[in-house]
């Protein structure tokens, strides 16, 4: 008898589990209303946190301006869009594109979708809307291919930020470094004092560190040349930059492979480490932890890149053969507008791609980033898809992984040369 009731309990539990799991329908699959009204389907991976809230705010702006167009939010969950991109790839191969979709501005988009003939140039829209006048001049070539602009950046994040713990620095009489040499000297002092000089996390954060060191060591022109083929990957300057990177790695914590970017960033605000190089989404994380800017954490450009803004951006494209091209253009108009960007960015914790957004909407850090965005030279990030296509980036990632294990600069450099030939612009 006891056994029987036990079995029925199990059966009830199983049914409950199945019913519950059926209840959690994906957020994304909102059924489209009958196709009488105009509608626009926008595909993104903004499904949680500040990103989803920001998107909702932007949709509100859209609905107010275009009440006759139904906005169909086709967002697919999954960190940094890995899942979403797989879904999108399947839809594109099946000839069923959404009207507009999200992508990291730059070569990640261009190398994939322009090469595949799947998106339209947006130069006319840029001219009509006067965006060329309100976005940094050095940005435009980075999101264009052969003179055609292919996406509308909504938000801007900065990659070359050196986060530091002000208290740890003052305790050890270290000033915030501005050049590579000052940085090495500072880290040497900290290491001698028994402080972890630089907090580092898992492999992609190492690529992030590498790109900022390449920029700091090579300077703007040589760094940009790496990605358009004018800087020789086999050159002595690159060897020097890679040696610098190797040197920087010697100042990092020994458990980096087991830390996420949050873990690594947290070491700085907790006073366990002095520096961390991470994109400025780290600032949102510090705030979440209840830390205050300038007292618990400070920021500066990564040494050697003062006056340079290494950016990454989420942007939206216009599908070739979009089912509703007018709706898509209406959406892009909002995505690039002052109103749309001012609705999105304060919530998401990023700055506007436009330089004319209202400063008062943003916090202390973001205000300083806005000032830099408007005045600095803009270069693109590798890890976050601006300067290299996916294939090239993945080859660099493999070479980097091998380098971290064996520490051989010459092997690393020849692998980078080979990667540029196989998947980049090098011959």
């Amino acid at each position: 008898m006891l056994k029987k009731s036990w079995y029925s309990l199990m059966a009830v539990l199983m049914v409950a589990v199945i019913v519950l799991s059926a209840c959690t329908t994906p957020v994304a699959t909102t059924e489209a209303p009958p196709a009488v009204a105009k509608e626009v389907e926008v595909f993104s991976w903004w499904t949680g946190g500040g990103e989803a809230a920001g998107l909702d705010a932007m949709i509100k702006v859209f609905n107010a301006k275009y009440p006759d167009i139904t906005f169909n939010n086709a967002a697919v969950a999954g960190g940094a869009g890995t899942n979403a991109r797989a879904v999108l790839a399947t839809r594109l191969q099946a000839g069923d594109p959404p009207d507009s979709w999200q992508g990291h501005a730059g070569q990640e988009l261009i190398g994939t979708y322009v090469a595949g003939g799947q998106i339209e140039p947006l130069n006319t829209l840029y001219e009509e809307q006067g965006w060329l006048a309100v976005m940094p001049q050095t940005l435009i070539p980075l999101i264009s291919d052969q003179g055609n602009i292919y996406s509308v950046p909504v938000n801007i994040h900065r990659a070359n930020v050196l986060w530091y713990n002000p208290k740890v620095l003052t305790d050890n009489n270290v000033a915030v470094p501005t050049t590579m040499d000052e940085w090495f000297a500072a880290m040497e002092t900290l290491k001698a004092a028994g402080v972890t000089p630089l907090a580092l996390g898992e492999q992609w954060t190492k690529m992030h560190l590498m790109e900022t060191v390449l920029l700091g060591s090579l300077g703007v022109d040589k760094y940009n040349g790496l990605w358009d083929g004018t800087t020789d990957w086999a050159s002595a300057e690159v060897t020097k930059a890679l040696e610098d990177f190797k040197m920087v790695l010697t100042y990092t914590n020994d458990d980096s492979t087991s830390l996420s970017w949050q873990d690594a960033a947290q070491l700085v605000v907790n006073g366990n480490a002095a520096f961390n190089v991470m994109g400025d989404w780290a600032e949102g994380y510090f705030r979440e932890l209840g830390k205050a800017p300038n007292t618990d954490y400070g920021w500066a450009p990564v040494p050697g890149s003062v006056g340079v803004f290494q950016f990454l951006s989420d942007s939206f494209v216009l599908a070739k053969g979009a089912p509703d091209a007018d709706g898509a253009k209406a959406w892009l108009t909002i995505a690039g507008s002052k109103e749309g960007q001012e609705a999105f960015n304060p919530v998401k914790g990023s700055i506007c791609a436009r330089t004319d957004c209202d400063k008062n909407l943003f916090g202390v850090y973001l205000q300083s980033a806005m000032a830099d965005w408007a005045s600095n030279t803009v270069v693109g990030s590798l890890t976050h898809g601006v300067v290299a296509n996916d294939s090239w980036k993945s080859e660099i990632d493999t070479a980097l992984g091998a380098f971290i294990a064996d520490q051989k600069v010459d092997v690393f450099q020849s692998a980078l040369v080979a990667a540029c030939v196989a998947s980049g612009p090098c011959k």
């Binding site: 890995t82 492999q203 492979t257 993945s394 992984g401 091998a402 294990a405 998947s423």
Partner: protein
């Protein structure tokens, strides 16, 4: 063709599944082979025939060499760890101790958990941080005064993959125990008694009677665990993410295909994985089909 109605009907009944398997298993294997022999790179399919180029490149690829090496280490540690631990747990439970059912469930339970969950828990347990950030096993060891056991787990250079295998052993040794326990229970007591009468001691009984009778069980365990370890992906991702030192073919396949858009290379790795599992499983299936065929 069909001798009677029954046969005709039974064929009709299995026809849908035969068709589904033909299309969704063998059809896609054939398609993957085709992709693996092509030049497909990027989002748009490109079926230009590339002979065996992708395979040749893989065998020259240092990353793929690392993958093979890691798979071998993982497989050896995992399979033998499970078999040895599973066998001893089964032998101990077979002694007829009190609360056997409880222990059986306890040992089997980890199997009900997915590798992802195991990975998340073991990621924390195997935390390699030092100083005042020490946690997990290392904290346990050092507070018990067992400092010599404190180590860097999966971040150990070269041998880190073996630490991942420990988590897999934790999960699958209970299952191996269940296999062996069933085998032990099927050994007739008379055989052991006869051996005892002949003056054999316990060790000799295990050596000459129990182990030989359990050979088919060991073989099954080897095959089942072996193919799991060749395909391991989720456990490593959950413990360490996508990091080069812990790379295995399945992760390389994923990264090639979806991160790097090297579809042809990804398909080639997939086919090599399929072949390696087939090499393990096909002889076993022939053997079992032969031995189970109606006399």
């Amino acid at each position: 063709m069909f001798r009677n109605k029954d046969r005709y009907l039974s064929f009709l009944l299995v026809l849908p599944s035969i068709l589904a398997i033909l299309i969704f298993v063998y059809g896609f294997i054939a398609w993957s082979v085709r992709v693996s022999l092509s030049k497909w790179k990027g989002l748009t399919p490109d079926y230009t025939f590339a002979k065996l180029d992708n395979y040749i490149q893989l065998f020259q690829d240092p990353r793929f060499h690392l993958d093979i090496r890691n798979t071998v280490i993982f497989t050896v540690v995992f399979v033998f760890g499970c078999i040895i631990l599973g066998f001893f747990m089964a032998v101990m439970l077979d002694q007829g101790l009190k609360g056997e059912g409880f222990f059986r469930t306890l040992f089997l339970f980890p199997m009900a958990i997915s590798f992802i969950v195991t990975g998340v828990v073991w990621r924390w347990l195997m935390n390699p941080a030092t100083g005042d950030r020490t946690s997990g096993f290392n904290l346990l060891f050092s507070s018990l005064g067992l400092d010599f056991l404190v180590n860097r787990w999966h971040t150990t250079p070269t041998w880190g993959i073996a630490a991942i295998a420990l988590a897999a052993i934790w999960q699958m040794s209970g299952y191996t125990m269940a296999l062996y326990l069933a085998g032990l229970r099927s050994i007739p007591q008379e055989l052991k008694e006869a051996a005892r009468i002949d003056g054999a001691n316990e060790l000799q009984i295990y050596q000459h009677i129990v182990l030989p009778i359990l050979m088919p069980v060991s073989l099954s365990a080897l095959i089942i665990l072996g193919h799991i370890s060749l395909k391991v992906f989720d456990l490593i991702i959950a413990v360490a993410g996508k990091q080069y030192p812990l790379d295995v073919p399945a992760i390389y396949m994923w990264q090639s295909t979806f991160d790097g858009l090297f579809y042809a290379r990804g398909a080639a790795i997939g086919i090599l994985l399929l072949i390696s599992v087939a090499v393990l499983i096909i002889p076993y299936m022939r053997y079992t089909l032969k031995s189970e065929a109606p006399q």
